[in-house]
Structures are given as C-alpha cells and as structure tokens.
C-alpha cells in the first residue's frame, strides 16, 4: 500500500511538472493522506483531488480507501541536480509494531525553474 501511495504522489508531481511546462511541483512536509476528524493537520497537497473528490476523501466518500490510507503520511522534496535537472523524492511513512517505516520513490525530471530551488525557494 505504501508503494502505491508513493507512486501516486510521484506521478502527481510529474503530471504537475508536465502540465506547467517544467514548473517544480510543491515541496511538502510530512502530512496525512486523509483528514482525521480529531486532527487539525492538513492533508497533503498530493492527496487532494483524489478519486473525484477535490478536497481529498473523507470516510463517507470511500470508506475502504479512507481507512487504508489513514495510517500513512507523505512528504515530497525536490533536489537540484544540475541546471535543468532535478530529482523528486516522494516519501511515505507509517508505523508498524511501534516502529516507524519510511519508503521512498524518486524520479529525475527536467525543470525550467531549477534556479529557484537551488536558492532554497519552495514552489507554492
């Protein structure tokens, strides 16, 4: 499941990069994939517009998917490699038996605003 979630985040980053002519996808901190009623933490941008639900899914929308995604968090970072080349890494974390596991998938893509990344500016 973590692999599927990381694949989703990475593919959304690539789709963003292609749709915006090489713009960098947003960098996000570690955030939940679905909204928990008892938590004020915001859902990761990478899990908005999900399965036909723009603000992300809630328990009543797709209960099976909601509960499957609830244990996971997602973080996405862009790393500058070369003038027009950068690396996107999608991290997905979850707890298992009291231990925190973290899985990541990465992809090299070309970008037209890699300079902004190099200077530490995060794309909104």
């Amino acid at each position: 499941m973590a692999t599927l979630m990381a694949q989703h985040a990475l593919e959304k980053a690539i789709a963003f990069n292609q749709a915006r002519q090489g713009a960098l996808p947003p960098m996000t901190e570690e955030e939940p994939l679905v909204q928990a009623p008892d938590s004020p933490r915001q859902v990761s941008w990478y899990f908005n517009d999900l399965a036909g639900f723009l603000p992300g899914i809630e328990e009543t929308d797709q209960p099976e998917l909601y509960w499957a995604m609830k244990p996971f968090t997602c973080e996405v970072k862009n790393y500058f490699i070369d003038q027009r080349l950068y690396k996107i890494i999608a991290y997905v974390s979850y707890d298992e038996g009291g231990r925190k596991n973290r899985l990541f998938l990465e992809r090299l893509v070309s970008g037209n605003n890699a300079e902004a990344l190099a200077s530490g500016v995060e794309t909104p």
């Binding site: 599927l4 959304k12 292609q18 749709a19």
Partner: protein
Amino acid sequence: MSRGFITVQVLFGLLLVTLLGGLILFLPVTQQKVRPPSEQAVKWLERYHGLLERLNTDLRLARQVQVQADSLEVTDAGGEPVLYRFQSGSFERQVRNQPAYVFMSGLKSGSFFRGQLLPNLISVLLVPDDTQAPPFFTSFSLRGGSQ
C-alpha cells in the same frame, strides 16, 4: 588494594549479564509486535504488483486515453488500443482482437478517474469484496510516450 566483597570485575560482569538478559527478553517482545501480513493479503499484493507494472508500461507509452467510470482505453504511438475494464467483479485487460486477460476477480468495485486539477493524471481504484484485503489505488501521469 581490595575493599568489600565485590570487586570491580565482578560488578562489571554482573552488569553485563543483566544487560544481556534484558536484551534477550526484550527482543522477542518487540518482534511479536510486527505481525506478517495474512496469506490472503499477500495474494492480493502479488496481483497488485503485476497490475501496477502493466499499467505503468501501458500508460507511459500512451498517446491517447479515454477515461470512463469503469473502463480505460489507452492507445500507444503505434495506434494499438488497450482496454482496461471492470466488469462483473473482475478487472480485465484486453488488447484489440485478443481475448481479455482477467487480472483479478472478487472485486466489489473498480473505477477510473481523471484529475480535475491535473487532467493528465489518471487514477485507478479497485476495492476487493474481501474487507480484509487492501484496496488498490494509485495514479499515472500521461507523458505522451516521451518517458
């Protein structure tokens, strides 16, 4: 010079034995907490792995995509259409004029979505009948066969 009944060596020896004993008792306790996935869940994950590989290949090479609620038609640069379809609890893949290959059956639902904000992102959601089995959900960006 020695004073009392316990020498420093004995004290360190006792400390080492205590630490080793604690470690031996602690390890099984922590290992018991990590339960391996059930046999049924492993079977589903194996099917998901095959499906993910296939969808990744087909959608990476896609030039045209038609998304319906329960089907997805992908056409590559050579004009060869590939149809993914959810039908009567089964998820199938069919290449033109060839018999459909059933990827998995025993599904409650199967749906395809195109991103509203990013139309070049296609998502697939499969929910098994078995409530203990995890759903399949992931997405694929359309690259026009470029990557």
